[in-house]
């Protein structure tokens, strides 16, 4: 799981880091943990975990195991594990997740769909989420 304390611990061995001054275009795939702080256009897929920083801008479909998103994402997100949306996250696209938490201030504009088991929450309407509490 992600939180502010364990983010660095979890990602200190990240296989790939895209810094703030890098712009990536195309289909980006990895096996290990990925950190995105810059810009990415296309698609982003990893077998492992994904961290998107608060200054990152991603226009891509995303697929990963666990993911922590704090920047702007325009595209669909599929997180097979735990998805954490930080307070600075802005999501414009549908989200599929195993588990989810949404911090106060996060913007979600799309459908939420739980991947396995009984759906805990499904909303077919466009949602602008500025809830004041973390939800699961």
């Amino acid at each position: 799981m992600f939180n502010k304390e364990n983010k660095l611990e979890k990602f200190k061995d990240a296989e790939t880091i895209i810094g703030a001054s890098i712009k990536v275009k195309g289909n980006f795939q990895g096996q290990g943990n990925i950190i995105i702080e810059g810009m990415l256009e296309g698609s982003l897929k990893t077998e492992a975990n994904l961290f998107i920083g608060d200054s990152a801008r991603v226009v891509a479909s995303i697929e990963s195991k666990d993911a922590s998103i704090n920047g702007e994402v325009k595209g669909n997100i599929k997180s097979r594990g735990y998805l954490a949306l930080g307070s600075t996250a802005k999501i414009f696209g549908d989200i599929q997740y195993g588990e989810i938490s949404i911090e106060k201030g996060a913007v979600v504009n799309g459908q939420l769909l739980m991947l396995s088991g009984e759906p805990r929450h499904r909303d077919n309407k466009k949602v602008e989420d500025k809830s004041s509490e973390e939800t699961e």
Partner: protein, 245 residues
């Protein structure tokens, strides 16, 4: 048989003392062998290849990064490479500046190099390839305006800084651990905004209309150029303080 390849620049008088000390030390350790001085030799490739044909067990570069690269360039992708890979090791004795490859191998100075040759600890390592040039350490280029094509995606860098394509680290303090046995290159991009990017790849194409790619700090290569890696291509004699596992 040991064959010592002395680089051309060692003919300068300022290196006389170091060379004398080296030769005394090699004699003391029973490591003396044939000495070939590259100064004055026109056919460097032919000379090195001939020594391997004659059965050299160890080819030792005495000099700097450029000396190592000259020897590697004379061997890899030639008809002699098969013999070299089966029978010959590559050693290194650093003299003077530009010796990052020696640092990677854990060789700090001449005395150290002699002891390491005696201990004969051998590692097979990958070789990076830029166009027709080989590299052990890294290839680097200014980051601003550089585009890197990898598989299905491209990286564009607009900030000033440096792009390094690393096979073998030369500085222990680096934030990444590059492994010269994994058949992969590590791209490390550091810009003035102090941000850092790291990507591990097998091959890439790099271009910058204004800058050249510098291979192991000595050779300048025009871009666009393809960069790749050849796995376990050279057997080298290394120290126990080498910067890789």
């Amino acid at each position: 048989m040991h064959v010592y390849i002395y680089d051309e620049y060692l003919n300068k008088t300022k290196y006389n003392r170091a060379i004398n000390r080296l030769e005394i030390r090699l004699t003391d350790l029973g490591l003396n062998g044939k000495i070939i001085r590259l100064g004055g030799i026109k056919n460097i490739k032919g000379t090195i290849q001939n020594e391997i044909k004659l059965g050299a067990k160890t080819i030792i570069a005495v000099g700097n990064n450029q000396t190592v690269n000259k020897i590697i360039g004379a061997i890899i992708d030639t008809e002699i490479y098969g013999d070299f890979q089966k029978k010959t090791l590559l050693g290194l004795i650093p003299v003077g500046d530009d010796n990052s490859i020696a640092s990677s191998f854990g060789i700090k100075n001449i005395d150290d190099a002699c002891n390491i040759l005696l201990a004969r600890r051998v590692e097979k390592i990958d070789l990076g390839l830029v166009g027709s040039y080989y590299f052990l350490n890294q290839a680097s280029i200014q980051s601003q305006g550089t585009t890197i094509e990898i598989d299905d995606y491209t990286l564009d860098i607009t900030e000033r800084g440096e792009v390094r394509i690393i096979n073998l680290l030369s500085d222990q303090k680096e934030s990444i651990k590059s492994n010269p046995h994994d058949g992969k290159l590590d791209i490390l991009i550091r810009t003035r905004r102090r941000d850092e990017s790291i990507i591990t790849v097998k091959k890439l194409k790099i271009s910058n209309p204004l800058e050249k790619l510098i291979v192991d700090g000595v050779v300048e290569v025009n871009t666009p150029v393809e960069v790749g890696i050849m796995r376990d291509k050279v057997s080298v004699i290394v120290g126990k303080d080498r910067l890789f596992e």
